[in-house]
């Protein structure tokens, strides 16, 4: 956030300078952080809050991850006990999983925003064009975020970590269920698929953004129509690939388990996080005086979406849970038993943060216009959806030895910092108000 704020301040004065400045800052703090982490080699999972800013956390978390693996190998020799080894493997996975959760979380925000953005175009929405630049800026994280997620997947594929149990040939050899799935679940095909999803999304995002900037100088609606068609195409591509992405990247962590509405479930989560982020960033920019054309009605509409999609998420969460829970088929229900026994607090806690809290706070029409109310609810929703991803990923990778410690928090701060930096940096690249969009006048005068 600090980095992002500095990037923003500087950015409005001189964009190129900022990038250098912030990079230098990151680099200098990075060195400092590495030294710091080097002293704590042995303490893989110390519960100690590192102070300082994002950049420091950054190197620390990666250092922690490496050391986690090293320390793990060192200890492996001394413990023959299988149980300990089991926990050890889980702990080795922990920093990786923490990194993966955080990386995916911020990636999914930007993906959700892209979907929302495309829907605005495809629906020819009249209220939202004043927010387009904010949305575009958030989707700028799609490229770095996508690359990071892809790199993590490749590292899993290279057996640098054991996030995906089906990638381990030994496990597969003794597991008939996974053997039957190898036609789909194998490393090369998995990575090719990931590349297709990511490439497709980034490609569409690139075109949409380029057209949107070109539209600023446009005299007719030709480019708008082009973007309309592109968005419609993207949405078709997106809903198929998003669904497969959720199977690949998250559901396959538990390769025995499957849920037919999992794609929707992940979609609801990424969609509501994305909309919440749009609302938070818009309100922040507005409070700084950059978005004076955004009025309370726009915030009201975003809050309505936050409210609605939160309920949608809960609906899917519950549909998934209840059907599996009461059909009581062993290999399916085990997924929830693990979550209820080992992850009771986050598993049920997220119902409060993701459902009760937004529903009660955003129910009143007037509250949706109170900016700090929306921000507060938004922060709770984002935390709740982080927990959601956490509970989707962690049980399969870490099992019962979970807690939210340094790796989790620092990974969050790392990607949070990178996310804010990329987003605010991208905000500085173009005027904050789109021009040439046929709906811009309607949007400026939008009044609920």
């Amino acid at each position: 956030m600090i980095v992002g704020a500095i990037g923003l301040m500087y950015g409005f004065i001189a964009a190129p300078e900022t990038v250098e400045d912030v990079k230098e800052m990151m680099a200098s703090h990075g060195e400092h952080g590495e030294e710091h982490a080097g002293e704590e080699t042995e303490k893989v999972n110390v519960e100690q809050l590192p102070g300082g800013n994002n950049a420091e956390m950054h190197s620390e978390s990666s250092a922690t991850a490496d050391h986690g693996a090293e320390a793990g190998h060192g200890e492996e020799a001394s413990h023959d006990d299988e149980h300990y080894e089991h926990i050890l493997h889980q702990l080795q996975n922990k920093p990786w999983a923490a990194l993966y959760v955080a990386a995916f979380f911020f990636f999914m925000i930007s993906l959700g925003v892209l979907a929302f953005y495309a829907i605005q175009y495809a629906a020819q929405a009249g209220w939202s064009p004043v927010l387009f630049r904010v949305m575009e800026a958030i989707t700028a994280y799609l490229l770095p975020g996508g690359i990071i997620v892809f790199v993590l997947l490749v590292l899993s594929g290279l057996h640098m970590n054991h996030l995906f149990v089906w990638m381990d040939p030994e496990v597969v050899a003794h597991d008939e269920i996974i053997q039957n799935k190898t036609a789909y679940l194998n490393v090369p095909f998995f990575l090719i698929r990931a590349a297709i999803y990511l490439g497709g999304w980034i490609f569409f995002r690139h075109l949409l953004r380029k057209n949107s900037i070109k539209m600023d100088d446009a005299t007719d609606n030709r480019i708008f129509k082009k973007n309309f068609k592109l968005s419609a195409g993207f949405l078709v591509f997106f809903i198929v690939t998003e669904s497969m992405m959720s199977w690949d990247w998250i559901m396959s962590l538990d390769p025995h388990w499957f849920s037919t509405l999992f794609g929707w479930f992940v979609f609801a989560s990424l969609f509501v996080s994305g909309i919440t982020t749009i609302a938070i960033i818009s309100i922040y920019l507005k409070s700084r005086g950059y978005l004076e054309f955004v009025n309370d009605s726009h915030i009201h509409d975003l809050a309505k979406f936050m409210f609605g999609i939160s309920i949608f998420w809960t609906y899917l969460w519950f549909s998934q849970f209840m059907l599996i829970w009461y059909s009581n088929i062993p290999e399916e229900v085990v997924y929830f038993i693990q979550r209820m026994e080992d992850y009771q607090l986050p598993f049920f806690g997220m119902l409060i943060t993701n459902f009760l809290f937004p529903v009660l706070l955003l129910m009143n029409s007037d509250y949706k216009r109170v900016n700090w109310f929306v921000i507060m609810t938004g922060i709770v929703i984002l935390c709740g959806h982080y927990l959601n991803v956490y509970v989707m990923v962690m049980p399969a990778t870490v099992g019962e030895s979970w807690f939210i410690g340094i790796p989790e928090i620092s990974a969050m701060l790392l990607f949070g910092g990178l996310f804010t930096f990329v987003v605010f940096n991208s905000l500085t690249k173009a005027p904050l108000l789109v021009k040439g969009n046929p709906f811009i006048k309607e949007s400026k005068h939008y009044h609920y």
Binding site: F318, M322, Y326, M363, N364, S365
Partner: protein, 173 residues
Amino acid sequence: MASKVLHAIYRDDDLLLQAVKQIREARYHIGEIYCPFPVHGLDKAMGLAPTRLAITSFMYGLVGLCVAVAMMNFIMIEDWPQDIGGKPSFSFIQNMPAFVPIMFELTVFFAAHLMVITFYMRSRLWPFKKAENPDVRTTDDVFLMEVDAANHNIDDLTDFLYKTGASEIKLIE
């Protein structure tokens, strides 16, 4: 009650909205407006108090939720304990997920129906009631505004209303 009212007829909702603002600025009192369809922003322009229907709806929802909880608890747990989903725990809280659809439905059912009934009662509507509509055309394409004329010069008021865009004006004694 005001004995004299003017019925001013407008043919366009934007015109009506403009007229409402002008009439209120000129300190005339608008009794009621009959529209063929809801006009966006009319309640604010007329200065009506915001509706409290939403609050009643929320409370009805809570009532519905409580009824559902009490009902399911009595039927499925106390009166005739059921083994639900092969999990014979006989406790309400552990079987609660199975009751969520019922709880949800009854919440919606109570909120919706009681809200409609409340609305009917507040607006004094019931089946087979004779319409209070002063002019049948307001159910088709015409907006009718009742302006209180008791303490005003009728001619001045009529002129003023024509200026705001009224297409016909009738004096009702």
